[in-house]
């Protein structure tokens, strides 16, 4: 009984305790300006994390965002720097990211290759392309109309926070309330069962990879505009946090399955960790240590019941 309770709700409970600790440790943590900051900080993480989650829901994994995010940012900086209209530049970046997602998915699904390895290879290649196009230096974005997209506010709410709420609602509705979401989940639970139920798992997986590509494209756009430019290691810096968020997501709400609300909670948690550490001016060495501890303890709590050894299918 207690074990089931801990396995199912332990992580949520500990997360709430952590937020209580944050509020006690720093009185400004709950101030409206800090909450807005927190929402803006978690936007990119959530966007890319939801993309990864959608792929994981179908039973695959996609680490190519490490390359897509880097390449997308460079492309955006180049296009806006080349006097393209902002809207067209952003659409091009999101479109290319979708095509990249589609191609990665096609290779994995059509040739029946392990998604982990193929997406890592894709990440290498995309990062190399990024280097070839961007030359390995920071490309700045100075166009004010583009930058105003992330710096503007409605009342006190910054645009990225508005977008974040919109994105979570739309993808949440899509995954949890529509027929398509149920089909994606069915594919992930069992490809064979989904096939015999009359679904086409191949198409559903392709769909997941493409949607993920779109989200990576949106994520990289927000990231590049917030940083006012394309950094050389923008993609690699996002690699581990996004994985953390998606894997943390598996430990809450629907334990053991990747799920959207878990991912959003994970992104909120990672963003609050970094936020609270800068608020209380903790030594920077503690940030990664605590992040690692949080991840391990969350997963240990939810793995407590079975304690079986998990293996990776290469």
């Amino acid at each position: 009984m207690l074990r089931t309770l801990i396995t199912k709700h332990g992580v949520l409970f500990v997360t709430i305790l952590f937020w209580l600790a944050c509020v006690i440790a720093s009185p400004v943590f709950l101030s409206s300006s800090n909450i807005m900051n927190l929402l803006v900080q978690m936007t990119v993480l959530t966007t890319v994390g939801i993309g990864l989650t959608i792929v994981m829901v179908t039973g695959e994994i996609d680490l190519s965002y490490g390359g897509t995010v880097a390449l997308g940012a460079t492309l955006l900086a180049k296009l806006i720097g080349g006097e393209w209209p902002t809207a067209w530049s952003i659409l091009t970046v999101v479109g290319s990211a979708a095509v990249i997602g589609l191609i990665t998915g096609l290779i994995i699904v059509k040739m029946r290759l392990p998604s982990f390895i193929v997406s890592v290879a894709a990440m290498f290649v995309l990062d190399g392309l990024n280097f070839a196009i961007g030359g390995g230096t920071t490309l700045w974005i100075t166009e004010p109309s583009a930058l105003s997209l992330v710096n503007g506010r409605i009342g006190i709410i910054p645009y990225p926070a508005v977008f974040l709420v919109f994105l979570v609602l739309v993808t949440g509705y899509m995954l949890e309330r529509t027929r398509m979401g149920a089909h994606l989940e069915a594919t992930g639970q069992s490809v064979t069962a989904a096939h015999f139920a009359g679904l086409n798992p191949f198409h559903l997986k392709l769909l997941a990879f493409t949607i993920a590509g779109v989200l990576y494209g949106v994520g990289t756009t927000i990231q590049a505009l917030r940083m006012s430019g394309a950094m050389r290691f923008a993609g690699q810096d996002l690699l581990l946090p996004v994985m953390t968020v998606a894997y943390f997501g598996q430990t809450v709400f629907r334990v053991g399955r990747p799920n959207l609300w878990g991912t959003v909670l994970g992104a909120l948690l990672v963003a609050s960790l970094e936020n609270i550490f800068s608020l209380i001016r903790a030594h920077f060495a503690f940030v990664p240590i605590i992040e690692g501890l949080v991840l391990v303890s969350a997963v240990s709590l939810s793995a407590m019941r079975e304690r079986r050894i998990v293996q990776i299918q290469m």
Binding site: K110, M111, R112, L113, P114, I117, V118, V120, A121, A122, M123, F124, V125, D127, G128, L129, F131, A132, G136, L240, M243, T244, Y247, H283, F284, A285, F286, V287, P288, I289, I290, E291, G292, L293, L295, V296, V299, S300, A303, E306, R307, R308, I309, V310, Q311, I312, M314
Partner: protein, 336 residues
């Protein structure tokens, strides 16, 4: 998998029917032929590729690092896991070694042993988390990257390094790997000894064979009465030892250490065993070793020809992709 080979039945590759005989030759010997071909081309095209200075100073020194760290990854992959923390482990052991040598005045051998001990502890922790607690290797070793990075900051701060951008220089060590002992440079001895020991411990001992069995079918291994948890843990400890050895070698080779040193080796350490697997049909110590040399030869040759080092990643990505396609085709020819 259990069906007998049927050479007459064609195999479908990307929707096209291809005769099995035509496919199986390049799959069997393709890697070795390519390996010889690449070396031949590099000898012909890249000036000074075969010079002893290049071979001992660059190729062998670089290979000793890549072989060691990839063998660590191979050990874990044999047991059906993956270790994302190999690069971070290399970093922390290298930094411990460098600080002991430069700030505490220790001898290099003693300092290296302490560095390797650090990496072993990291391996034990990941092994316990995967084998006994039951966390996915992805998550356990991903978390390991974080806490190792944090511990590295602490070690660096206690050692007197200010800020994240500073580095410690150990310029008097850089010649160490090129020193000739008994007719061969030290790096060659390190490669020989590491590969030999890894071969013995992973392919020739009972534990090594049992580990491979665990990787092939964990339930069968469990029902055969093997201590699956202990074997899984063993593989992560081997990985910890080998990747920290690689970290020590890396610091000796490049002569300095800073925050994040070694982390870039993760993706190569991941790619090399898979290239080796595609070449020989299964994970093996020799396959990994050959694949590591293959990558080092190509990178070295291309950098002699003036290619930018950053394209190394693209190259590894393409090699990884070709390998995984080949492994998929091979699986389909043998089984299907």
């Amino acid at each position: 998998m259990n069906q007998p080979l049927s050479p007459s039945r064609p195999v479908r590759i990307a929707g096209i029917n291809v005769s099995r005989k035509i496919v199986s030759f390049p799959i069997r010997y393709g890697f070795l032929l390519t390996f010889v071909l690449v070396i031949g081309v590099l000898v012909a095209v890249a000036p000074g590729f075969l010079s002893p200075m290049n071979l001992a100073g660059n190729v062998l020194a670089e290979a000793s690092i890549l072989v060691t760290i990839s063998l660590g990854m191979t050990a874990v992959m044999l047991g059906g896991g993956v270790d994302l923390s190999v690069g971070a482990v290399a970093g922390i052991s290298g930094m411990t070694m460098a600080l002991l040598v430069s700030k505490a005045g220790w001898g290099i051998l003693a300092a290296s042993l302490v560095g390797i001990a650090c990496g072993t502890v990291a391996g034990v922790i990941s092994g316990v988390l995967v084998g006994y607690v039951g966390i996915s290797p992805f998550i356990a070793t991903l978390a390991a990257i974080f806490w190792i990075r944090g511990s590295q900051y602490v070690i660096a701060a206690t050692g007197g390094m200010q800020g994240a951008g500073t580095s410690i220089y150990l310029s008097n060590l850089t010649g160490y790997l090129q020193q000739v002992v008994l007719g061969l440079p030290t790096s060659a001895w390190i490669v020989l000894i590491t590969v030999g020991l890894a071969h013995l411990s992973l392919e020739k001992t009972q534990s090594g064979r049992q580990l491979r069995f665990v990787g092939m079918n964990i339930f069968a291994a469990l029902y055969s009465g093997l201590s699956v948890r202990r074997l899984t843990m063993y593989s992560y400890v081997v990985s910890g030892v080998l990747s920290s050895l690689a970290g020590v070698l890396l610091v000796i080779r490049q002569g300095y250490v800073m925050m994040g040193t070694g982390e870039s080796y993760l993706l190569n350490a991941f790619a090399v065993p898979i290239i080796g697997m595609a070449a020989f049909g299964q994970l093996s110590v020799f396959g990994t070793t050959l694949a590591a040399f293959f990558v080092v030869f190509i990178v070295n040759g291309l950098s002699i020809l003036g290619m930018d080092i950053s394209f190394m990643n693209v190259l590894t990505g393409v090699l990884l992709f070709i390998s995984v396609v080949l492994a998929g085709i091979r699986r389909r020819i043998q089984g299907d």
